[in-house]
């Protein structure tokens, strides 16, 4: 049987190959390469699934207990989100894959470069021995994945909108229209936000049960609230004041940078109660 480390190495290369295909597809505009890219993405996602399953068998528990394991989960969710777009919009949005699969590749690359002690299979520390772990982590990461996809689409939006304004034929012609990208950007944030909110609430319930307080202003808690405020601001701007396009695209990028800090930055720079990941 393959180990999860071996599988995640393979996964890294599959996502890299898929990302390269997407970039060639963008440059050469050949449908065949696009199909190959999508096929590689599907293979990658299957390997990603296998990695999670093997890790579960190896550890004998849900594989979400450290930074390395959650990165595998995040790339799995992000790629699944992209596959859903691809199936729903039948090839029209294939270029979104170029950004999303690149993100998945970067996520796996970052996970592979983590020091071994962040990757090793360790038994769960007492604080994590709870069924709340699965609920809290899954909801939070579905939220992160939504924000990650919105971030990718936000970048595409800015590129496309600039090209549309110039009005000349360009590299970005095959991108979906900026209206569609704007709409999708909103939709993924609208998925991410309730899930991250639920993740925070579940975390609070768990903290109350494990530590005797639902909120301690721990850096992880505080930063999750900051992220929440950013996206809450986004919704007020968009739904009440009618912000569209560039403004909301920038918002989705800033919001995701805050998510990256919440996820990685806090773990390394501001460790607190939530020091495991």
């Amino acid at each position: 049987m393959f180990s999860s480390f071996f599988l995640s190495d393979i996964l890294l290369w599959v996502y890299l190959a898929a990302a390269c295909c997407y970039i060639f597809y963008m440059a050469l505009k050949k449908e065949g390469i696009g199909h190959l890219a999508f096929a590689l993405t599907i293979i990658g996602w299957i390997v990603n699934t296998a990695t999670l399953i093997v890790r579960t068998i190896e550890t004998g528990r849900a594989p979400y207990a450290n930074l390395y394991e959650t990165m595998i989960l995040l790339s799995w969710l992000v790629v699944m989100g992209y596959i859903a777009i691809e199936l729903k919009y039948s090839n029209k949005l294939r270029i979104v894959g170029a950004v999303i699969v690149t993100l998945a590749f970067l996520a796996m690359g970052a996970a592979a470069m983590l020091p071994y002690r962040y990757q090793a299979i360790e038994p769960l520390i007492p604080a994590l021995q709870s069924n709340w772990l699965i609920l809290h982590v899954i909801t939070t990461f579905v939220g992160y994945a939504g924000f990650a996809i919105a971030f990718g689409i936000g970048i595409l939006y800015l590129l496309k909108e600039r090209a549309e304004q110039r009005g000349k034929p360009s590299f970005f012609d095959r991108f979906p229209s900026s209206e569609l990208l704007d709409d999708l950007n909103y939709k993924f944030i609208a998925i991410g936000f309730p899930f991250v909110t639920l993740g925070i609430i579940l975390g609070a319930i768990w903290a109350n049960y494990a530590w005797g307080g639902y909120w301690s202003w721990d850096p992880k808690e505080t930063w999750s609230l900051i992220v929440w405020f950013i996206y809450a601001g986004y919704f007020h701007g968009r739904l009440v004041r009618g912000w569209r396009g560039r403004k909301t695209a920038y918002f989705s990028i800033v919001g995701f940078l805050a998510v990256i800090f919440l996820y990685w930055g806090v773990s390394f720079v501001l460790p607190g109660l939530h020091a495991y990941a």
């Binding site: 360790e122 038994p123 520390i125 007492p126 604080a127 021995q129 709870s130 709340w132 569609l180 709409d183 609208a190 998925i191 936000f193 309730p194 909110t197 639920l198 609430i201 609070a204 319930i205 109350n208 049960y209 494990a210 530590w211 005797g212 307080g213 639902y214 909120w215 202003w217 850096p219 505080t222 930063w223 609230l225 900051i226 405020f229 950013i230 809450a232 601001g233 007020h236 701007g237 739904l239 009440v240 004041r241 806090v266 501001l270």
Partner: protein, 464 residues
Amino acid sequence: METVVQTEAESKPRGVFQKVYDFLSSVKLAVVVFFLLAVGSISGTIIEQGLDPQEYIRQYGEKWYYWINLLSFPNVYHSWWFTLLLALLAINLAVCLSKRLPTIWRAYYVADCDFTHNLVQNFKNSTVIKFQGGTEEAKQKTLSILKGHQYKLWMENGPKGISIFAAKGRIGRLGSTLTHISIFIILSGTVISSAMGYRTFYPVYEGTPLYIPQGDFYLNLDKFWIDYNDKGGIKDYFSKLSIIDKEKTVMTKTIQVNDPLQYKGIWFYQSSYGMAWDRIDLALIRITDKKSGKVVTEEVLDFRKAKEIKGADLQLTVSNFVSHFAYDPKTKQVYAQSPEHENPAIQIEIVEGGQLIATPWLFYDPKLQGMFPIDKSKYDFVLADYRAPQYSGLQMAKDPGVNLVWVGSALLMTGLFISFFIFHRRLWIRIEPSEKSAIIYLGGLANKDAFGFEKEMKGILESF
């Protein structure tokens, strides 16, 4: 003249009131408060919270400390300005809700069938269909198509034509209202938590019952133990606790992290464990004769229990212990600088020849031993070893606001789900007779998901 003056006098204060009202209910204020709360929260993760003033002075200097202290940066999340921002958020929420509620209610509740085809054609999404058949047929066809799309229908037959109003997902309108009410509930829960709740940490020792004044009962730690895994790492740790109320054991439970005990609304959580910093079980004292330099005896002493040393005319008592020796010159007190066993020391009372001659501190660290000989005694004393008891670190908490927070959280999730995934769509249809056929005017509005609505409209048209 008089009436003019009166209205002016009346409208002037109303103008100010209106301005304040508009400001307090504005979305701009909400976004600005979000921004300030985010920045304030970030400051609390950059500036370390809850340190001693000296530590801030050391890190930032005297001058900066003045500002840090003035703006409560050592305790950002409970500072006056952070509380003020949260209060502003709550006021903003309440005022905004009161302002928008009538509009939301109207959009939710009112079915409007009093309109002409002009109104229908004004919508962004609108079309005109030439229907081959009479108005009655056109009406039946329209109704069946819209029913197929799960629309709720209202109808009015006029002399010049038929008006149909169709709506679905109108509960989506209430999503944002529910969300905002829920935030208000969560905030009130946190206010109750901080006003009436408490959290205390207790190091609890086996066999020493702890009185809990808030509940008028005793908590006894029957046993504390640690389970190790194969690699020798800590797998889990447990405290077997008993509640003694009115001299009767009313409850016994083994708690661990993620499995607390609750009695009379007071919760006890397994939080940590460690070695005592203020007491020991046993101390091993080596007694040497000053003249001969020979070891007279090695004695095991219990904590705070006098012991006669045979053949030496001595009585010794270990009266105090600190795990990390420190001396405060102001109060002339010895205290433990930290719970770590960095520099353990005991204080002993030496009674020699029937008289208390000294109460020196003895250090465990060999480098510090024998530094302070006791002049009045024939002997030298050395702390050769000691054994400190293990405590179980228990967090005690009572939080009357927590249930309100959970209710608010449940409503928040419901509100978010409703407002993001249920879209309010409204259609206005006017059917008017034309020679031998009918003209159907169809127009609509969606509060969200314009793309999805356009798609649905296309589908409806195709069905015609």
